[in-house]
Amino acid sequence: MKYLQILMLSGLLVLSICGLTVASQGTTSDVNSVWIGSHYTDFSDYVKKAGEYNLGNDEVLPEIKLNYGLRGENYFMRLNSHYYDDKNIFGNLTGYYEDRLKFNVQYQSLIKQAGRDLLENLEARESVGGNTGGGKMLTHEVLDADADYNTHRQMITTEADFVIDKKHKVNLMVAHRTIMESGTEQMISNSHCFSCHITSRSADIDKITHQIIAGLQAEVVGQTIGYEFGFRSFKSNADEVYNHYDVAVNPNDSSAAGEFSSRLLYEDSTLPYGTYPETKKMSHKFRVKGDAGKGNYAAAISYSKAENNITNLASTAWVGSASYAVGLSPRTRLIARVKASRLRTDDTLIDLPNYREGTSAGPQTNFDFTRYSSLDRADARFSAEVISRLNKKVTASVLLGYDWIDRYDYPIAGEGLTTKRMKGQLKVRYRKGIKYSTFVKYRFEKTTDPFVSGRGLFEERGRDELNPIPETFRFVFYFQREDLRYQSITTEPTDEHIFEWTSRWMPDRKVNLTIGLKGSYDKNGDLDSLDINHLALRPNLNLNINPNMNWSINLGGNYGYYKSSGPITVALFDG
C-alpha cells in the first residue's frame, strides 16, 4: 500500500513537472534534483513517549525528496517535496507571474501519538467487598486495551497575492487553510454506579477545520487602507460515542439508592459523550496605516462572531487598536499603543431536574440557573515607550503600561470582576559596532484583582447558612458546595518581576556567540499567608556558526530552574 502511494505521488510530481514544462512558452530553464533513498527505524526496546511526533514504522521504507525549479520568460516556480512515510509528507509549490502574482501551496502532515493510557496512574479507592456497599469509590474498565492512540494531522495552505494596480498599490490577497485530523483517540466516560464507574473506549478522529481570509488593500492619499474578511469553521465527522449511564447505587449504603439517584441528572440511559462542537466564525477587519505628523501610525477595527451551530450560542467581539510612533528628537522615539475590546457571549438557562424529583423523600429543590459567560467583558490596554539613543553605543528605553479588564457577571452573577494591571519596563542596550552588544531589561507588573477561577479557589469555611437546605438536614449535600465554593481567591500573581540579560559577540557575520540569563519571580501579594510564588531562572549559552551558505552549526546549552510554591487545597468530605 505504501509503495503504491509512493508510486502515485511520484507520478503526480512527474506529471506536474511535465505539465509545467509543456505549458511554458518561450525560453525556459529548469533546475531539479531528486533524492531517492530509504530509511529504517528500529523500535525494539523502545518505549513510546507521550506526545511524540514523527514516529516511523518498524520496517524498511523508501524515502523521496524532489526539488524542482522552472523558470520561463515571465514566470518562475519552485517545488520542494519530501516523502518520509505515509504520515510524514511535505510539499511546497511557490510561483510568481511577472511581478504581479505570487502564490504558494503547501502540504504538511505529521503524526502525534498519545503514547499513554489516560487511565494510567489511576489511583483511587477500589472495591473491597464485591457489589456490596462500602469501600468502593472508583472502578474502571478498558474496552480497547490494544488500541494505538494517535492523531494524523494534515494541513493544506494556499495563499495568493495579486497586484491589481501598481500605481495605487492595490493588492488582492486570498488565503485558505484546511486542517484535517484523523486517527484514534481514547474516550473516557464516567457514570455513577457504585460511585464512579470509568470506562475507556477507542474512537475514530475525523476533524476538519477550514479557514479563509480574503483582503483588499490600496493606497489612498498616501495612506494604506485595507479590508479583510475571515471565515473559520470546525466540524467533527466522526461517529458519536455512547455510554450507558448505570442505575446509580450509593456505594456505602445500597438501601439509600433512591436518595442517591436523586443526586443525578440522568441514569439508566445510553447517551453520547465526548462530542465536539460544530462552530463557525466570521470576521471583518478594517485597517489603515500611514504617516501622521512626523510619525507613523497603524490602526485597525474588527468585528467577529463565533457561533456554536449545535447549541445556537454565539460570541461577538469588537476590537480596536491603534499605534503611533513619533520622533521626539533625532535620537528619541515615542511609541504609544492602545487596544480595546468588547466581548459578548450569550447567556443560557440551565434547566435541571429538581432535587428528589419523582421521589417522595423530602422537599424538592429547583437548581435551575443561568450560565453567565466569563467571556462577557470589556478590556483596554495602553502602553507608552520612550526609546533614546544616548550616544553611539548606548540606547535606553522606558515603558509604562496599563491594562484594564472588566468582566460582567463573573465569577458571581451581578458582581463581576475588574482586573487592573500597571506595567513598567526599563531596558538599556550597549552596542559596540556590530561585533558586540549587550542589554539588560527589568520589567514589573502589578495587578489588582487578578483572574479568579469561576468556582473559586477554596471552599469557604465556617459559613453559617447552608442554603437551600433546611437546618433539619443532617448532611451537607454535594450541590450545596456550589454555594460554598464562591470565593474570590486566586493563585494568579499580583506582583511579577522579570529580569533579562543578554550579551552577543559576533566577530564576523559567520559566528555568533550569545550568553544570557532570564529570570522571573511572581507572587500573590493578596495571600501572603499562603506564600504563593513562582521562580524561574534560565541561563543560556549559544554558539552559531555559518561557515558558508550550505552549513549552519549550532551549539548551545540551556538550563531551566523552576520553583513553584503554594498550598494544596484540602480534600472535602461533605457528602
Binding site: 506526545g51 505529521l110 479507592r125 472508583l138 460511585s195 470546525f234 542589554f439 494568579e492 538550563y559
Partner: protein, 321 residues
C-alpha cells in the same frame, strides 16, 4: 556632530532621571546618503565592481522577480541603494545609501516601500525594531538562501532567543524541531498589535489551529476564556499537553481535591465528618494515591462542553462529559 547635556542628579527621582536621560539625547549624523544631485547609473555600472554580488543576486528571489518585471518598477540595485552616480565617481562607500545601516530613528525602512502587506503594519512599533534590528539583521538580501534569504528560520530566531530552545527539547512541545511548524506560525516578527509580537491575543491565536476548543460552550471552563497560558506554556514543558504543571497539582491551584481521591479505603461503611455518626479519614497514603490520580481522568472535557455532567453536585457543569 554630537551634543549632550547632563540632567541634574541631585534630588531628582530615579524615574525622572531616566526620562531626562532619554529625552536629552545626542544627535548623530551618519554618512549613509547619496548627495541630492546624484543620478541613476543602472545595474550594468554596479556590476563592473560588484560582480560577485550580481552573480549571486540573480539567483535570489529579488533577482528573479526583477527579471520577470515588465515595468519601470523592476527591482534594480538603485531601487534599494538610491542613485549611484556620486558613489561611482568618488568610489566612496559613504556616498551610496546602505539599508543595512537603517535604524529605528531614521525613516521607514527601504524594504517597506515595496513590502506593504498587512504583516508589516506594525513594524514602526515592533519590539524587533525597537531592539535595534533592521531588515538585514535577519534577511540576507544578496545571498541565494531560502525564500526570503534567511538562514534556517528556527535557528535564526533561537540565535537570539536561545533560552527558548531549551523549552523545545522538553518532552511536550510543539513540533518545531521536527520541522512541522515555525516560529512565524505564532509570532509576527515584524510587529504584532500586542506584545510578544503576537498579532492576536493568545486565546484567539491558539484557536486558529485548535478550533475545537473555542466554543462558545454551554458549560465553560473559565480559564479557557481568559488566557490559554494560565494552564499551558507554548514553547515546551515537562508535563504532558504543554501544561505548566502536572495534574493534579495544576488543577489544585484553583480547585479543591475532592474526597474520592484522598479518603482511605475502608472495609465498612463510612460517614461524613459533618455528622458525629459519620466518619471518613484522609490518611497520608490516601493523599499519595490522590496525588497520582489525574483530574482529567474523569473531567475529560476541560476545555468546555455542551453536555451536562451526570451529578447534580455541580449542576451538571463538572466537565466530565
Amino acid at each position: 556632530m554630537r551634543s549632550r547635556s547632563s540632567p541634574k542628579l541631585m534630588g531628582a527621582p530615579v524615574v525622572m532621571l531616566i526620562f531626562c536621560l532619554l529625552l536629552v539625547s545626542s544627535i548623530l549624523v551618519y554618512a549613509n546618503q547619496p548627495p541630492p544631485d546624484a543620478a541613476l547609473v543602472g545595474n550594468e555600472t554596479c556590476v563592473d565592481c560588484h560582480d560577485e554580488i550580481s552573480e549571486a543576486f540573480s539567483t535570489t528571489l529579488h533577482g528573479m522577480i526583477s527579471e520577470l518585471s515588465k515595468t519601470e518598477n523592476a527591482v534594480s540595485c538603485e531601487s534599494c541603494h538610491g542613485p549611484g552616480s556620486a558613489h561611482v565617481e568618488e568610489m566612496e562607500p559613504e556616498l551610496i545609501y546602505n539599508p543595512a545601516k537603517e535604524d529605528q530613528f531614521g525613516d521607514m525602512p527601504t524594504c517597506l516601500g515595496c513590502h506593504n502587506s498587512p504583516n508589516f503594519d506594525n513594524w514602526p512599533f515592533a519590539a524587533h525594531n525597537s531592539g535595534d534590528l533592521n531588515c538585514t539583521s535577519c534577511h540576507k538580501i544578496h545571498e541565494p538562501q531560502a525564500d526570503a534569504g534567511m538562514y534556517n528560520e528556527m535557528h535564526l530566531c533561537l540565535g537570539c532567543h536561545s533560552d527558548i530552545s531549551a523549552s523545545m527539547f522538553m518532552p511536550s512541545h510543539h513540533p518545531l524541531r521536527e520541522g512541522k511548524m515555525s516560529c512565524l506560525d505564532c509570532h509576527e516578527v515584524h510587529g504584532g498589535s500586542i506584545e510578544h509580537t503576537l498579532e492576536d491575543a493568545k486565546r484567539e491565536l491558539c484557536f486558529s489551529c485548535h478550533a475545537d476548543k473555542e466554543g462558545p460552550f454551554v458549560y465553560e471552563h473559565a480559564p479557557v476564556n481568559e488566557d490559554c497560558t494560565i494552564c499551558h506554556t507554548p514553547h515546551g514543558s515537562v508535563a504532558d499537553n504543554l501544561l505548566i504543571q502536572t495534574e493534579p497539582s495544576l488543577c489544585l491551584n484553583c480547585h479543591p481535591m475532592h474526597f474520592h481521591a484522598a479518603i482511605e479505603g475502608i472495609d465498612t461503611l463510612f460517614y461524613a465528618p459533618v455528622d458525629s455518626s459519620r466518619y471518613g479519614v484522609s490518611t497520608p497514603d490516601a493523599w499519595k494515591r490522590g496525588m497520582l490520580t489525574k483530574c482529567s481522568q474523569c473531567h475529560t472535557a476541560v476545555h468546555g462542553t455542551d453536555l451536562p455532567s451526570q451529578a447534580t453536585s455541580t449542576s451538571g457543569s463538572a466537565l466530565t462529559r
